[in-house]
Symmetry: C2
Subunit: 409 residues, 2 copies
């Protein structure tokens, strides 16, 4: 089903808001046969919006609008969709009661302007919004489907997942299965060259690699006449991809490098500790993005200054003078120091030059050493990273997560 | 000048890439009189792209395309723009030489397919791309302007700033001045209600508040017949806004909470140290996002476990037992402990419940205590934050940055 997503709102068009809703919808609905081919964004202006919707109605079968369902005078999506479909708006007592209930639950009073949100397009189905006051709507008219959704992501996401996706799935023939296989430490062009034959020899499944920072995600989209058929096809190609990249695959679908690291640490009943210089807490922060990380992580030191490296984790002043803070020797002493204080099973340190300043010919921006110490191993990795400060620090974090995963898997 | 931005690429339409280029361009060019009214995105397909460009050419005066200028067969933006303008493509020896030079500089060999990037639309002006192989183009035709840009942000951003913006500024009459005033700690609806009169009594300058997490940014856009005129107008309204919110304004334009905190710490020659539990390094990481933070920050401890709170910063086991880790008492002991180890002028601790688990009726998810200790002050702040784990942790970080700023300003 050819789909156009229309994002409504001057802030979206002028760039004051980054639209993450449209990408979410396009990805989420591709699994039920929705082929998003067009996207557009338009200001809160009646004439412009009608013009954009008329074009969408001509070229797409499914038109999904995001936003413009609020309670103020410039929220006009419902009016525009009604107008181009020659429909009227009516006041729904039922929707008004739902909105009132929502305010009651929050212990707040409904404002008179919220009544605007009880205006419904005739012949449309109301889509409940458990997290807000703007209901969604589905209008089938002239062989086209219009879906109207509010734009706060915490309202839109569950509405798409729980209501719109099942509604569209029921209209879709066959079944689409998807899987994302996640690789760390290989370049996109290398992955593509290895996958070239698989990618070109068949149109089903579709195999597409996407480059992320330091990672390549391979998405497999398999169409079958039923669920079993689609999953069988998916599984065959999943195995083929694993046979090429097994060593570098760290997870699938919702897995992230930190979630996988925490999962493996839990599984092996290991604790980890960090001593961070250039990342300054970024590694500990990222690991603890994962709920329940407290089972595997208890202590980290941010030894940004040389003084802290000496007093807190016992790096020798001689080594600091002789080799400098960014060196193999200091990295290993930092890791050993944090291991002994924390009593963790795995102790990891990083020291490097994140830039933009501080680089020299011998030690350029992007040079990072990482110490890795366990009860029976002790090693240092050296990285030459590129990019700006954030990229160098984030790549350091990702490399540390990958070190944990590779050690435990 | 009415503008439509057309983002090209299947990954953009299907949501596998979040488009940050179009918002950047819309914001950046509004200062030179470009009024972005439409945005659209289209797959890498010749027919679809021509259809979208034809519509854009009808309704906009300036059409900016992003992407589709790469060296592969599905990079067809140059062909599509040429086609709908009845222009031919020609091979430019000059551009070929520039591309070859680019590869030489990187010590890499130019691939034959890069020659595709030397294909230029006749009658267009080439826009140099110092950071990549795809040159941009500007085509003026039929009273319309087409601007073609490559999509990697590190290529696009300098091209827009250094080439496209001056080119469009020269076509623009009058001058547009912009300023963003940044507020922390006030709700959007409160700010809007205070600003209501200012926002509605005049169309020039335009005053628009934008809600960010914990922050409200007020954007003033003033049009004048020349620079001085625009700046004078801007300044008047800037003063009016300051008179309302002075206490909560932390900065302007490019300022961020951490950049302002680092700036003030430097100015007052103070050092700060952190002892983090629930944020687990997020505060130190955020402060050190700012280059040069090493002047004001040397040591942080991530005491995620109770064990670490006791052994590293000397929290008493009795307090932990009696009051729990998330308590005023433990927060202040953490701050005092880190102050004594680090010798910093300002020591800040946080301990809280970031969720999703771990909350109780008495101590719900979102409860955070922060200790703040200097040579002559010692206090604890209590926050009741809402949202998911990331939001609670980020709001904690922002509150800590604001505490530093408010203490020093």
């Amino acid at each position: 089903m050819i789909c156009e997503i229309v994002s409504v709102g001057t802030e979206v068009v002028t760039g004051d808001i980054i639209d993450t809703n449209a990408p979410f919808i396009a990805k989420e609905l591709s699994a039920v046969g929705v082929n998003t081919v067009y996207r557009s964004a338009v200001c809160d202006d009646m004439d412009l919006m009608c013009e954009v919707l008329e074009i969408a109605k001509k070229r797409a079968e499914l038109i999904i609008t995001i936003g413009g369902l609020g309670p103020t005078y410039d929220d006009i999506t419902r009016n525009a969709v009604a107008k181009i479909n020659n429909k009227k708006l009516y006041h729904s007592d039922e929707v008004e009661a739902t909105i009132k209930e929502y305010f009651d639950r929050l212990g707040r009073t409904m404002m008179p302007n919220n009544l605007l949100q009880a205006k419904i397009i005739e012949d449309s189905a109301v889509v409940e919004n458990p997290n807000g006051t703007a209901p969604g709507m589905i209008l089938e008219n002239d062989g086209k489907i219009f879906v109207l959704l509010p734009d706060p992501p915490n309202e839109l996401i569950p509405m798409v997942q729980d209501k719109i996706k099942p509604y569209l799935a029921a209209k879709h023939e066959g079944y689409i299965a998807e899987k994302i296989i996640k690789i760390f430490g290989l370049g996109e062009s290398y992955v593509e060259s290895v996958l070239y034959d698989l990618m070109t020899q068949t149109k089903n499944p579709v195999i597409a690699p996407y480059a992320k920072l330091g990672e390549v995600h391979i998405k497999i989209t398999a169409k079958g006449y039923d669920k079993q058929d689609a999953l069988r096809l998916l599984s065959t190609y999943r195995d083929k991809i694993y046979s090429h990249f097994e060593k570098n695959i760290y997870g699938e679908d919702e897995d992230t490098l930190p979630s996988k690291a925490v999962e493996l640490l839990k599984k092996h009943n290991k604790k980890v500790a960090f001593c961070e210089s250039c990342t300054a807490g970024y590694i500990a922060k990222t690991l603890t993005d994962v709920p329940g990380a407290s089972d595997v992580f208890g202590f980290g030191a941010v030894t940004y200054a040389n003084e802290a490296k000496m007093t807190v984790v016992g790096v020798s002043s001689v080594s600091l003078k002789q080799y400098g803070a960014v060196s193999e020797e200091v990295a290993i002493q930092m890791a050993k120091g944090i291991k002994s204080i924390s009593k963790a099973d795995i102790a990891i340190s990083v020291t490097g030059i994140a830039g933009p300043g501080g680089g020299t010919e011998e030690k350029p921006v992007g040079l990072v050493y990482s110490g890795f110490v366990t009860n029976n191993t002790s090693m240092v990795s050296k990285f030459n990273l590129t990019g700006n400060r954030e990229k160098i620090r984030l790549m350091t974090v990702k490399n540390v997560m990958a070190m944990i995963i590779n050690y435990l898997k």
